[in-house]
Structure formats: C-alpha cells, structure tokens
C-alpha cells in the first residue's frame, strides 16, 4: 500500500443497463478527481439488460483501490474487475483514421497501413479511411506515422478488454 507510483489500470464494470448509470460512473470520476483515459460502454447481455463499461484510468495503488471500492458501492454495479491486476487479459481498440493525400504520400500511407494490417474502408481519389484494430500503443504509432502523410481526422473507440482463459467476469 505504500507504493506511490502512478500506474495505468484497465477496469471492467458490469452494470444494469438503466438510465443514468453512465452518469453515475462518470460523475464519480469527475467528483472525486479521478482520471479517465478512455471509456467504452455497450450492452453485453440483452436478456439480463447488463452493460459492460471498460475504463482505463491511472493512479497510485491507493487511488486505484479507492476507485474500485467507490464503483462497487454504486447500487446498479454488479461487478468490478481490475484487468491489469487480476491475471492476464487482452485489450483492443479500434480507430478510423482519415488521410488526405495524393502522389507519393498516398502510396506511402497504403504501404504503412499494410504493415499495420489496417484496412481501407473508404477511398476517394484524394483520401483514405483506414480501419485499424489493436492495442492502444499500436494505434498511437500508426496515427503518428500518418501525420506527415496528410492525417485529417481520427475517431477511436477507446479500449475494450477481457480476461484471458475460460472464466467470466
């Protein structure tokens, strides 16, 4: 508990899919001054009406424990899991990256996309929209490389993550 290093944690939260639940979670973070680096949410169990929220946050161990305890205290929260601590996990993010370029730069953007296994999902004579999936730093690297080639727009989903192995949340 004396560890004061600030680390990044990915937290998965299973909640009732009801009005206001996201506001509760976000309000808790802003009200208590916690970080949100990314947040994703969607319904994952239509029958039980459960949604899964994935939050990437950072803080000292004491803060991270507080965040988890505060989240668990919210009435519509079913489960909170720290994917960074609770064993191995996979996390992915998707980005749509628009590059407007012609000539050599256009060709170069395609070449890099190929290396990153990004797909062109839209193309015009002067632009591409690439779809790329991967870990956050892979997306960061791809976007950085696209910058000098005519990057005009980026849309990212934020991280979704899941524990490896057979167990459920």
């Amino acid at each position: 508990m004396q560890n004061n290093d600030i680390r990044r944690h990915t937290i998965a939260i299973l909640v009732d899919n009801e009005a206001g639940v996201l506001a509760r979670v976000i309000g808790l973070f802003s009200g208590r001054g916690y970080n949100i680096e990314s947040l994703t949410v969607a319904e994952v169990d239509p029958r039980e009406q459960l949604s899964r929220i994935t939050i990437v946050t950072s803080g000292t161990m004491m803060i991270i424990e507080q965040i988890k305890a505060q989240l668990s205290r919210l009435v519509p929260v079913h489960k909170v899991s720290d994917l960074t601590l609770d064993g191995p996990s996979v996390s992915r993010e998707l980005a749509l990256v628009k590059v407007a370029a012609t000539g050599e730069k256009r060709v170069e953007s395609l070449r890099i996309a190929d290396i990153f296994r990004a797909r062109a999902v839209d193309s015009t004579n002067e632009s591409f929209v690439f779809e790329i999936v991967g870990a956050t730093d892979k997306l960061d690297a791809f976007i950085r490389l696209m910058e000098p080639l005519g990057l005009v727009d980026v849309s990212r989903t934020g991280v979704v993550a899941i524990a490896r192995g057979p167990k459920s949340l």
């Binding site: 004396q2 206001g20 309000g27 507080q66 305890a69 505060q70 205290r73 009435v75 519509p76 079913h78």
Partner: protein, 586 residues
C-alpha cells in the same frame, strides 16, 4: 382475471405503510398534489408540514437518528427538490437513512424546461446513496420498497425517488415488499474470519492500544454499542469517540477518553498519537480527526472495521481491514477473544494508563469561570448537570457551541446526540430537534444553538407551534459567528471580516411571537434558574443565554497540525503560530 389496480399515489402510500412509516415531513406543491390528496384521505400516516424543505430533511434526520428508523420526506418538484439538496447531502455525509420523495413534471414534459422542472436525479446524484426517476407506474411499488432497503442497509444514506405527476395518477397493480436479494446491491455484513483472527492477535499483543470509535457503531444499533462496551471492558483499553460516535460508548465510563479530533480532548489526541495499536471501529479517518496525515499516529498498527469498503485505505493506509457490520464483527471478535483465551499485556497496559492519566491531569477542558459574565463552557456544563438523569436528547447547530456541547455533555447511550458532523450545516439543529421530539413526545429535547445558526431555519418555530412540540432552544449568544471569529483571530490577524452578528432579533420577543416562551440569562447567577424554568415549562422555549463574546474553543488542533501540536488554551496561541500549509485547509 383482472388484477386489482391502484393509482401511483395510492401505491406510494400503501408502500410507505407497508414499510412501517408513521411520519412524513413535507411541503406541498403542484407536482405532488395527487400524493397530498391521498394523504388527506387517510389517517395512518402523519404528515408534518414544515416551513422550508431543508427543514423537512433535517427533521427526518433527527427522527431517524433518534430512533434508528428511516426518515421520510415529501417535497414538490423544482424549488421543492432543490431546497432539499442541503439536507440530502447532510444525510449522505453522516450516513442517515432517508427516503425523499420528490415531485416531477409529467414524463412527456421532462426535458422541456417545463414550469418547476429540475433535473432532480442529476442534481442529487452526488448527494444521495442512490436515486430513482420512476417513469413507469408498473415499477413504482418495487422502487419504493427497494429505496427503503437501500437507505437502511449497508452504510445507511439518503435515497431520492423522483415521481413524475402522470405516474402518480396512472393505475397499476400493487406489489408488496419482497425480501428477495437485490440483483447487484448486497452489502457485506459478516467480517472475514481470518482478518478477525489477525486483528485479535494484534489487539492482544498491544502495549499502547486505543479504540477509536465512530458513528458506524451507532448506525449498527444498540446491540453493537453494548458489544463495543463489553469488548472495551474485557480488554481494559482506552476508548475515544468521534463527534458522530458520542454515545456509542458510555461517556462517563472511566475508560472513555472523550472526543477525538480538532476539538477533542488532550488525552484522546495524545493517546491517538502515541498508540501502537489503533482499533478503528465505524469511523473513517476524517481530516477533522487525523490532523496532518503524515504525522498521524506514526507508531501505530491500524485495524479498521467498517461496513463500507470505500472507507478503508481512503485517507490512511491500514494494516488489517475487516469489512462488515460493526455489531456482527464485534460479536465474532468477542467470541474469538474468549475462545483463544486472549489476555492483554497487563504490565504494558498499566504503564499506558499511567501515561494517559498524566495527560488527563492536564484537565484540558478547564476554563476560567467568573461571576460577572457567563462563560459558554459554564453554560453547557450547567445545562448538562441540570438535565442529567432525565430522558434528554441533544441536537446542535454548527459552530463553537456545537463543539462545547460535544465536549461537556456526556452521552451514556446511543441515539441521544444529533449533530451535523460531516457537512457542518448551520440550521440543522432546530428542525432536527422537531424530528426527535415527534419520535419521543415526552422527552426533553434541546437544540444547543448559536445566535447565527438558529436564524438559518428559525421559520420552523411556526412548525413547532403548530404541532405543539415542546422543543427547547438554548442559544449561546456570543453575538458573533464565534467559530469564524476564532479562526479569524488565530489565522487572519484578528480582522473580523463579516463575522459580527449585527441587528440580532430580540430572541425573547421572537419566541413570544411564535407562541413560545422566551427566557434570558445575562449573569452566571441567573443561569440555573433559567435552565430549570426552561425544563419545567411544558412548551417550546427559547433561551437567550448571553455569553462571553471573546471566548475561543480549546483544545484545538489547528488545520495542518499534528495531534501532539494541539493548542490547549489562549496561552498557547502566541507560542505555536499556524503554518502556511494549515492556512489553506478548512
């Protein structure tokens, strides 16, 4: 087969009755008229008409804290709901179980800036344990029952149910209270056995132990308080209480060190500073208790027992955490202590008590009484002595008088002391006293007040008159916002910016205007007679007790200081200037 249906308002009333509600504190308005119509048609639920919605919340808090039941409030939409916000947060900070029904514009108008529309669930989300907007009458009975369950279980708190007007007039079948486990909300009651084992080993091995006990003991109930007393007696260890914990352990027990924290006793704070094992039970290491964090109990191993996991390791990292209901955990601890035939270290304990007695001998609450002017401490001391042995309940406002009340009153039982601790809400005491008096019609209920605070909800004198509540209001009138003046003296060079209470009303006449009795004490020689008369009169009384304007509340740990850097009295002020860091704290 058609099921029998009721309209939403009937469903609410039926659910309240099924929850055992006897009293509602409220104030009507357009959005809640269907509910008021149902209230009119029945006589099982008693409605108390307050004069401001904030007071409805505080009254419900007083009712709840003096009975252990859930306090219930009904207010209208818009301004009714926003006026309730302070009281909701007050209940949140002090973990008081409240269900607050708020009116709302009809569902089809929500979001249209309709007349008296407010985003009540949005506004109250951070000031409630949970809140609901009921958009569909089918879910109404379930929501009301669930709200009571959430309010009263786990760490108690306020719950808001926002009720659009159309839902109140639409019909649906009523569903009775179901005890089925909630899908996601399941507070942990029983403590982890191995954590309890480890805690017991640490407790038994302590050389300089202290019990640090808070409002969680009282919230856990009378039985928990008895178990605490039993365990403290079994160990022979000293026990200090937080402002919220007063009465959880008998105040005049020789093992009680009195209150801990900013205005706590010297012996409590020194023992907290010097202990080697701290057993925190139902308290939350609040900044008013810990003082400067990096100097807090530097040599102590800390055990924390609390029902709220988010209270653990929040401000102070502890060595052993037991999450569970205090009463439940104490029961297991006492059993474990016996089963393992644990025994305290008698020699170490003896020298620890010798040290504590030396601190006690400083007599930190002493004050210089005179026969010319009433010292506020003297007034509280006499009030305590003259009411001792009676069926007395004390509420307070916020300020110096509150701290003096906490220091000089000794509470032998839980549920007798109602004060706004976490939020420090001026204006809490009078409405709270109303709630207490309603729950205990024959008891002596006293609001210990300041002349500034009492004016924040003085309109409730009218409620008191209407329901003939014999509440006593004992004003320590120092003509200053004394606590503000004290900080200005200690921290801001004696520049008393806006802390003088000019144009005070004549409190005796004010009492009479509201049909109450007004009494005044100017000199120490008059005090006892005035207090005795106040007690004897079977009507509401306001006592204007004129006290020394310059008196400061000591002991005091200035903000940003450590427990062992306490100011004991005026003579200390010059010697120990307050640090720059402390200046920015509240």
């Amino acid at each position: 087969m058609t099921q029998e249906t009721m309209n939403g308002a009937e469903i609410v009333l039926k659910a309240l009755q099924d929850q055992g509600v006897e009293v509602i504190f409220g104030y009507p308005g357009g959005a809640v008229l269907p509910l008021y119509d149902e209230i009119f048609k029945q006589n099982r639920l008693r409605h108390i008409l307050v004069r401001h919605e904030q007071a409805a919340l505080h009254a419900a808090e007083g009712y709840a804290r003096s009975t252990g039941k859930v306090g219930v409030v009904l207010v209208t939409s818009g301004p009714g709901a926003t006026n309730a916000v302070t009281g909701l947060l007050d209940a949140m900070c002090d973990s008081v179980p409240i269900v607050c029904l708020t009116g709302q514009v009809p569902t089809h108008l929500i979001g249209n800036d309709a007349f008296q529309e407010a985003d009540t669930t949005g506004i109250t989300r951070p000031c409630t344990k949970h809140n609901y907007l009921v958009k569909d009458v089918e879910s109404l009975s379930r929501v009301v029952h669930e709200a009571f369950y959430v309010a009263r279980t786990g760490r108690p708190g306020p719950v808001v149910i926002d009720l659009p007007k159309d839902v109140l007039v639409t019909r649906a079948p009523y569903v009775g209270s179901a005890d089925a486990a909630h899908k996601s909300y399941r507070p942990r009651v029983k403590g982890d056995a191995s954590a309890i084992e480890a805690a017991l080993t640490l407790i038994a091995g302590a050389k300089r132990p202290i019990f640090y006990t808070g409002g969680g003991v009282i919230n856990s109930g009378v039985k928990a308080c008895k178990l605490l007393t039993q365990f403290v007696h079994t160990t022979g260890y000293p026990c200090t209480q937080t402002l919220m914990g007063l009465g959880g352990f008998p105040g005049s027990d020789p093992q009680s060190l009195g209150m801990v924290g900013m205005h706590g006793t010297y012996e409590s704070n020194m023992a907290m500073h010097g202990c080697d094992v701290m057993i925190c039970i139902g308290a939350r290491f609040d900044d008013r208790v810990t003082g400067r964090l990096n100097a807090f109990a530097p040599h102590a191993k800390k055990i924390h027992i609390d029902i709220d996991p988010s209270s653990i390791n929040k401000n102070v990292a502890v060595d052993i955490a037991v999450v569970g209901d205090v009463g439940n955990v104490l029961e297991d601890m006492i059993a474990g202590w016996k089963a393992r035939s644990l025994r305290p270290d008698a020699a170490a304990l003896k020298s620890w008590w010798t040290q504590i007695e030396r601190w006690r001998a400083r007599d930190c609450l002493r004050f210089a009484a005179t026969d010319k002017i009433i010292k506020p401490q003297y007034a509280i001391k006499r009030l305590y002595e003259l009411t001792k042995g009676r069926d007395t309940y004390i509420t307070t406002e916020v300020g110096q008088h509150q701290m003096w009340a906490a220091q000089f009153f000794k509470f032998e039982e839980p549920f007798r002391w109602m004060t706004s601790g976490g939020l420090g809400t001026m204006g809490y005491g009078l409405p709270s006293a109303m709630g207490v008096q309603l729950a205990h019609p024959d008891a002596l209920v006293i609001d210990i007040a300041g002349e500034a605070s009492i004016q924040m909800n003085i309109q409730e004198m009218s409620t008191i008159a209407q329901y003939r509540l014999p509440v006593k209001i004992f004003i320590l009138n120092n003509q200053y916002m004394g606590m503000v003046r004290q900080w200005q003296e200690l921290l801001h060079g004696g520049r008393y910016s806006e802390s003088y209470c000019a144009a005070l009303p004549d409190f005796v006449k004010l009492a009479e205007a509201y049909g109450a009795v007004g009494l005044k004490a100017d000199k120490p020689s008059e005090l006892d007679d005035v207090i005795n008369e106040m007690i004897a009169v079977d009507r509401p009384v306001i006592v204007d007790c004129r006290v020394d304007q310059a008196e400061n509340c000591f002991p005091m740990i200035p903000s940003g200081a450590a427990h062992n850097e306490m100011l004991l009295g005026p003579e200390d002020e010059a010697e120990k200037p307050i640090s720059e860091d402390g200046m920015v704290l509240v």
